[in-house]
Point group: C2
Amino acid sequence: MTRTEPIARTERVVVATHDDPLTLVCGRTLDHIEVAYETYGTLNAAADNAVYVCHALTADAHAAGIDPATGTPGWWDAHIGPGRPIDTDRFFVVCGNLLGSCLGTTGPTSDDPATGRPYGLTFPPIHIADQVAVHRRLCAALGVRRLHALVGPSLGGMQALQWFLDAPEEVDRTVLIATSGRLSAENRAFSAAGRQAILDDPGFDGGRYLERDGPGPVHGLAAARRFAHITYVSGGSLETKLGDEPAAAWPPADAASWLAPSRAVETYLAHQGSVFVERFDALSYLYLTRPMDDFAPFHGAGAARARAAVAAHPGVPHHLVSFDSDWRFGVDHAARLAADLRNAGARAVTQTELSAPWGHDSFLLDAPGLPEQLESALAD
Amino acid sequence: MTRTEPIARTERVVVATHDDPLTLVCGRTLDHIEVAYETYGTLNAAADNAVYVCHALTADAHAAGIDPATGTPGWWDAHIGPGRPIDTDRFFVVCGNLLGSCLGTTGPTSDDPATGRPYGLTFPPIHIADQVAVHRRLCAALGVRRLHALVGPSLGGMQALQWFLDAPEEVDRTVLIATSGRLSAENRAFSAAGRQAILDDPGFDGGRYLERDGPGPVHGLAAARRFAHITYVSGGSLETKLGDEPAAAWPPADAASWLAPSRAVETYLAHQGSVFVERFDALSYLYLTRPMDDFAPFHGAGAARARAAVAAHPGVPHHLVSFDSDWRFGVDHAARLAADLRNAGARAVTQTELSAPWGHDSFLLDAPGLPEQLESALAD
């Protein structure tokens, strides 16, 4: 069957200005925020068919369709489109790039209007609630005041949950995939070790590398990505893909070639680091990983407010999906989040564990059962 | 109960000279090898009470007793001593530092006698069989020709197994703890990402950092260690120790303090990296991790020879011990190694999984059941 893929162009809209700045959770204001976004399908007259898709850590607004400039399909193109689980014949689908990213939305690599130079570390600390606030302004600009569904994998699931907690009256349901309501100590350890590899790289130079020539902290960023990548896949999928190589050839020519990445799993991982530094920025990596560590809506100072939001809207369905091979945000995270929601009074929480071999990245791949989960979650 | 701890001094012996060089697996020769070692107890007249203890990746010859210079107990002092599981009232216990290490035995940080300058990457590639060959020369120098037992955790278990395969007639039994007969793709991925962090660090300078002032690749080495450390512990033990900290305080003072290691798990991990670079060398880290990747005695070119060694000595007991929270070399590794040994004809393989919460590092800690396993393995 041939299918003509829709063309998707990334648009940009300014959602905060000098006259209408955004005050962040940290108390500072941003008076120029631009958001990169894409939409698919058509907002109906009642404006009640919008589905907001929240992206994961290093993804972008190009969730579906084919980018006309590059020919690249969107990161969730398998699930979004005419006749697909997030059906654009029925829904108006929106995806916006996150505040703090380097892929179209304002972040630490953007120029500070006050100085004309890149923010670097003068960009304010951000909270997931700030990322939500920016995307709520995007929705307002698009005429969307209510969401049929908020759908997000990984960090996207955290964003979706935070959105519901901040504006439950706008949200008809959430679909929270391979995500967490609070990172484990191990999650935070991996996160911290990655950030420190960047911060310690002499190329980071206190975040001023954007203002001078040179490669910046590419070694630290590549190292962070390589280790993070291991946590995104499963031991089993690495074994299937790369494990069955022959034993190392002995003797090696010399110590340098013996020690260098040369075997399948090594060149694969080296490649993951190298391509990542071409497409992503170290400051954005820092600014987007830290909010995940901070995210713990049902613990600490904000917990009472979060529980009150849930209790006031107890019938909103929350669909939690996890993958059995995901050792980053697996079923234990989903179970804890489901318990937090139920303990706060949510009466329509479902929790489904799907079997898929690819670890955390299963949400990006052809995981059996995921299309059906999306379809039924949006249909109920 | 007060116990007077024995004093243990690290000694040194030259085991290869210009007149009696060691030819390595790679074909090159080393004509000066010095080995740092310690012994505990007394070799009996029949010279049949020797127990060789093989250390893990970054440990040293100081396995037991108190170092008189530093007051530090040996890394396995809980298990080695008078009346302890490896009973020095009965056994003559030997531990030697590994070829390639920087803790007393010749390695890439040693001076090349041919040039008078540190080897760096001109040090030859080494195989675990080379490390065994060096320690067999150490035993010969001590008058030990036969081992009541070879005992080793982690890389030490690989060394013990290789020793048995290379010289089965010298070995009465092996005790292989938290070890592997072949690394998984995930193990090798972590290993490769750590090495690449070092190799990519501009401070590495092709391994010539030893010849000039400056700190060397300390950032890469610290990053490698921090990530490796996460794989040495368990998610559960991190959670118990460091997970129960309060949610992050908001707002942070500024972005730099927000991003820096500040919370318990982060400062703990930062510390692990910082203290490691004080005590260990990046070249040795490369030269000791790579042989673990290469180790696969029952696969590839050497497999027939390994199986023949096992088949010729089928009654030698092999005691395999793993820990249930070890996600590095856990029960799956032990089960595969047990199967490899049995398939080759070994008739006295036992495999025990102990319950201990500290992940791979359980072998270093007070793991319930480990003393009993050591005691019974050596008694049989």
